[in-house]
């Protein structure tokens, strides 16, 4: 007779948290190293006002990042989140300047975004168009809608009460509470709730999930709706912050979100990644862009900082996957690696 070798004293969930945190560990290590280097070259970065502004802006982007994170876990992605965020801001602002209550404006904006998520799902899952092409199509549609509504102009003069949603950069700001709260909630739910576990199961192997009786297409619809809905929340927060809406914001949000998720330990082949990793990843992206400004370098170099961090994260993750030895060449040859 043989027995299970299940270790005593560790629940499956606790151990799976530990094994998952292995993937995320590098993003935290990278963040600490990064902060140490920054401290050496640019101590002004650590002024409380700068730090709180960085955390605030990261939190403002978190709903969109987490939506993209959910899609990446599913092995999918969405290029249209930036255009959806801008569109949501425009729709909410347009409703308000036409005298509708704030709540109705927010509801319409999120509803329209979720409809775009459903459209993405229809194109990608039902019509089997590649996510790259399909979400590029909806990106164009959302951009055109925003431009048509605003006629290419920013909408200003929103009610000051709308500004309360994203006001201030203190820890009690609703934007920070929402950003941090959604990361914590997703962390718990993806470990413990069956619907959120389905994201990992479908992302890991859709055929196996389907044969286990899981509604794979339904889970994918949930993912696309979360991504677009999250983008809408970020778009609304941005409008609330500036009391205006423009069709020209968030043009590179989708790629920043994808970079953040990968820096945070997710793989584009699906089935891995954590919400907290995506948070650290976005923090790294925001810090990198900020650092270029702080260092007095031309803002045209902002994206270089993000690219270098992304490269470092992917190389280090290769080391983690290969048992801790730094062998990045293996990482490149592995299936599903970036």
């Amino acid at each position: 007779m043989t027995t299970s070798v299940e270790p005593k004293g560790h629940s499956g969930a606790a151990r799976s948290v530990r094994s998952l945190s292995g993937r995320m560990r590098w993003s935290v290590v990278l963040l600490i190293l990064y902060l140490a280097v920054i401290f050496a070259i640019q101590p002004a970065f650590f002024l409380p006002s700068n730090l709180s502004a960085l955390v605030y802006y990261t939190c403002l982007l978190m709903p969109a990042v987490l939506g993209v994170h959910v899609l990446i876990v599913l092995g999918l992605f969405d290029l249209s989140v930036g255009a959806t965020a801008a569109m949501a801001g425009v729709i909410a602002a347009n409703a308000m300047v036409h005298g509708l209550p704030i709540g109705i404006g927010v509801f319409l904006a999120i509803g329209a975004a979720v409809a775009f998520g459903a459209l993405n799902w229809l194109l990608v899952v039902q019509l089997r168009i590649s996510a790259l092409i399909a979400t590029f199509i909806t990106l164009g549609v959302a951009e055109a809608l925003s431009l048509a509504i605003t006629e290419g102009q920013a909408i200003a003069g929103l009610p000051t009460s709308f500004g309360r949603i994203a006001v201030g950069s203190t820890l009690t700001s609703p934007a920070i509470v929402l950003g941090v709260g959604s990361v914590c909630a997703l962390e718990v739910l993806t470990q413990r709730h069956v619907l959120f576990r389905r994201l990992y199961q479908v992302g890991s192997n859709p055929a196996a999930a389907r044969s286990g009786g899981i509604n794979v297409k339904g889970v994918q619809l949930f993912g696309f709706a979360l991504a677009s809905g999250g983008a809408a929340v970020t778009g609304i927060l941005q409008s609330s912050r500036t009391l205006s809406a423009s069709p020209f914001v968030f043009t590179d949000l989708a790629l920043q979100c994808i970079a953040a998720c990968v820096i945070g330990g997710a793989s584009l082949s699906g089935g891995t990644g954590r919400a907290a990793g995506a948070f650290f990843g976005m923090l790294m992206v925001v810090i990198s862009r900020n650092l270029v400004v702080m260092a007095g370098v031309s803002v045209y170099w902002q994206d270089l900082g993000v690219s270098l961090v992304l490269l470092a994260a992917v190389l280090l993750r290769g080391a983690e996957d290969d048992g801790g030895t730094l062998m990045p060449y293996q990482a490149q040859s592995r299936k599903g690696k970036l």
Binding site: M1, T2, T3, S4, V5, E6, P7, H10, S11, G12, A13, R15, S16, S19, R192, H193, V194, L195, R197, Y200, Q201, G203, S204, N205, A207, A208, A209, R210, S211, G212, G213, I214, G270, G271, T272
Partner: protein
């Protein structure tokens, strides 16, 4: 066959795919505590017989009975609820595992016990696995191991474990060792012998005569969807079984 035992019978099962008659009146019987091997060349109808028995394929005619009571044709759900489970061939979607997830998550994939609001009952899952392991005295890889990091034999044990969670009395296995190396095969063979010892009846579809001789009690040879021969393995040589197949 012991008293109070459990039996699964297939009676005159036929199944046609277009012009191809995959099963042509195949009949078999398996009881608890025995391993029945299905042998035959490619296309002889072994997998079709298993899938028709389990219900993922609906037979054109004939019936499958558990303890003499007929099963609803083409209903794996009913087959499972009557104590018959199947471990599919590697190439079938039903056999696939999620490589990035833990063993325990793969064991319960799609059938996790949850609270009313959908929270996973992790302790109950562990208890169920532990009880299943005790009941069948089989080995399952560490529950927290990532399935993608396991050997082929260990992955097969997970697939078998998944079938055993519902405590079946009869297990159907389609080519369980086809893609495995020699050491990994022995892992699966041991698991099957342990299952037989705990009273499970097994139908094993196999290409390997050596495997059949090593673990089966009885063998049925199929050709063109017909059962062409049946005999006990005890006392037979590999050559005798090869002759059955070429009859």
């Amino acid at each position: 066959m012991t008293a109070g035992s459990f039996s699964l019978t297939g009676d005159l099962l036929t199944k046609r795919f277009g012009a191809n008659l995959a099963l042509n009146g195949a009949t078999f019987r398996v009881s608890s505590g025995e391993i029945l091997a299905l042998v035959g060349s490619n296309g002889s109808g072994k997998s079709t017989l298993l899938k028709t028995t389990y219900g993922t394929l609906t037979p054109d005619s004939g019936s499958v009975c558990v303890n003499g009571v007929a099963l609803k044709p083409g209903s794996p759900h009913e087959t499972r609820s009557r104590g018959v489970e199947m471990v599919f061939q590697d190439k079938d979607d039903e056999a696939k595992l999620c490589p990035g997830l833990s063993v325990v998550e793969n064991l319960f994939l799609g059938h996790e016990p949850v609270t009313r609001v959908g929270m996973l009952l992790i302790r109950r899952m562990q208890t169920m696995v532990r009880e299943m392991i005790d009941h069948y005295t089989i080995s399952i890889p560490p529950l927290d191991a990532k399935t993608g990091h396991l050997s082929g034999g260990q992955q097969k044990s997970v697939a078998i474990g998944r079938a055993l969670l519902s405590r079946p009395r009869i297990l159907l296995l389609d080519e369980p060792t086809a893609s495995l190396g020699i050491t990994e095969r022995s892992v699966v063979h041991k698991a099957l012998k342990d299952l037989r010892a705990s009273g499970v009846g097994i139908i094993l579809c196999s290409h390997s005569l050596e495997e059949v001789m090593k673990i089966a009690d009885r063998v049925i040879a199929l050709r063109d969807g017909c059962v062409i021969a049946e005999r006990d393995v005890d006392g037979a040589s590999e050559k005798d079984v090869a002759v059955l197949m070429s009859k």
